[in-house]
């Protein structure tokens, strides 16, 4: 059963608590991915302490947030990573964490196998070392595959292999699926967005218009076997909508808590324009979620702008807010990758250099020099498989 429109309208107006909350535990990372959406690399000295992190979990438990998507940076770099994870699970907040695999030893894999409330996704951006390492750095393919092997050997079921789709790995879709199958993993494909260091490489790496068509057909053919976290709803303009919630969830069902406790509308929107406040502020996260000016305004009906006359608007809704923002396009109007071709024209009208720069930069080498990784390149709705709708 699919999600009926009235329910989507409820989602558009915002929920009492987020469904998909991404929590980046640290900006530190041992890799240096070219497209890192959080411009990670160096730890920030203001990062939440263990006690503060537990305080956040207490709030999430009270708000009945079912699970958090933990990322970074490389979250497992934090010395208290397992302490935080164990605390969350003990407080009925499930954990899905994203990793580049560098610390998924056989022991860690065994630990993951032992918990139903723990889910892991390993980031890999190519089916071969050549394609992957060009984006994620020398040796990162071998590291990630080693992690897949350890997870499979430990008997972890249904872990995820998470791929950010680029111009270079899209020709490898079948190989990526085969790679995931080999380890009993589920393939998850997500969209490259011009966020963080991704803004620097977006022109070079984002899929071509022809590749988007191929991807769309491939996704339709694979249905629920392949997860997308509803990343690709802008492709709905090609025909029938893909399964999932066709809606930008920023500030409505999705948000980000960054390592220093700043709360943004979406993990792909790390910029002052989308900053609601900090979990250390009086009232904490719950107050921000319910009452911040920013989130309230994001829950207002959005203006369709130039998309208003488009036949695909009901399912595409103008695409991704963050993608528009960081490419310098108006938020009311087409996505830069609009399948009707309106994005290309709109992009041509943007004055070069006028695009907003992602705000905090934790790259090891200052921004636009581009540096460093994060392992979690997932859409905030990733993992929310909108399967059943029980109505009466």
């Amino acid at each position: 059963m699919s999600v009926a429109l009235p329910l989507v309208e409820h989602f558009a107006a915002g929920l009492d608590a987020p469904i998909c909350l991404t929590w980046e535990l640290t900006y530190a990372c041992n890799l240096d991915c070219r497209h890192c959406l959080s411009s990670s690399g160096r730890r920030d000295p203001r990062e939440l302490s263990t006690a503060e992190a537990k305080g956040v979990i207490d709030e999430l438990e009270a708000m009945q947030v079912f699970y958090v998507n933990i990322g970074g940076g490389e979250p497992t770099i934090r010395r208290d990573f397992w302490e935080i994870v164990d605390y969350a699970v003990a407080h009925h907040v499930g954990v899905k964490f994203s990793t580049n695999g560098s610390r998924i030893t056989p022991e860690v894999a065994g630990r993951i196998a032992g918990s139903d409330y723990l889910d892991v996704q390993v980031s890999l951006d190519g089916a071969t070392a050549e394609i992957n390492d060009a984006v994620r750095g020398q040796g990162s393919f071998a590291t990630a595959v080693g992690a897949l092997e350890n997870l499979a050997t430990a008997g972890v079921r249904d872990f995820k292999l998470s791929v950010v789709c680029t111009r270079h790995n899209l020709p490898q879709l079948d190989d990526l699926k085969a790679l995931a199958d080999r380890y009993g993993a589920q393939l998850r494909l997500t969209r490259l967005r011009p966020s963080g260091r991704g803004a620097v490489v977006w022109n070079e790496l984002h899929p071509t218009a022809e590749q988007q068509q191929v991807l769309y057909r491939w996704l339709l053919a694979h249905g629920e076997e392949v997860l997308t976290g509803d990343s690709f709803f802008h492709l709905a303009g090609f025909g029938e909508p893909l399964p999932g919630l066709n809606l930008c969830g920023a500030g409505r069902v999705v948000c980000l808590i960054d390592p220093v406790g700043d709360v943004y509308a979406c993990p792909f929107a790390i910029h002052d324009a989308f900053l609601a406040g900090n979990v250390r502020d009086p009232g904490g996260f719950g107050h921000l979620w319910r009452h911040s000016e920013l989130f309230r305004s994001l829950r207002e009906p959005e203006a369709a702008g130039a998309c208003g006359s488009c036949s695909a608007y009901d399912s595409c809704r103008g695409g991704c807010m963050a993608a528009k923002f960081f490419t310098g396009l108006p938020l009311a109007g087409p996505d830069p990758e609009c399948v009707k071709g309106h994005g290309a024209a709109a992009l041509a009208a943007v004055t070069p250099g006028s695009q907003p720069r992602p705000s905090p930069d934790h790259s090891r080498v200052a921004f636009l020099g581009r540096r460093v990784d994060r392992a979690c390149d997932e859409h905030p709705l990733a993992g929310t498989e909108l399967a059943t709708t029980a109505s009466a």
């Binding site: 059963m1 999600v3 009926a4 009235p6 329910l7 409820h10 929920l15 009492d16 608590a17 469904i19 009945q64 079912f66 699970y67 009925h92 499930g94 139903d116 409330y117 889910d119 249904d158 993992g383 929310t384 498989e385 909108l386 399967a387 059943t388 709708t389 029980a390 109505s391 009466a392």
Partner: protein
């Protein structure tokens, strides 16, 4: 085949229920699936299941009319199918 209405049902152990304005969200930690109850009364029924000898009695306690009952039966059956609800064993 007997109707789900005649069974004693309960929320499955790995399932969490979160009330929302439109009804509720259900999350299953085992299957990692999310479901929606698009109706406040359906939430009321679900919340009464554990204390009722059968789903039918939970429905009537929640004030579900005879005419509305088939829709509730379908919704409950769907929730059983996806393991959000289970038959309670004595």
């Amino acid at each position: 085949m007997t109707s789900v209405l005649d069974q004693p049902l309960g929320v499955a152990p790995q399932v969490s229920v979160r009330p929302e304005r439109f009804g509720a969200l259900l999350y299953h930690f085992g299957t990692r699936r999310l479901s929606f109850l698009k109706d406040r009364r359906l939430l009321d029924v679900v919340e009464r299941l554990d204390g009722s000898p059968s789903a039918r009695e939970a429905c009537s306690a929640a004030g579900v009319s005879e005419t509305a009952l088939p829709a509730f039966e379908r919704a409950l059956a769907r929730l059983v199918e996806t393991d959000m609800l289970r038959e309670r064993r004595p």
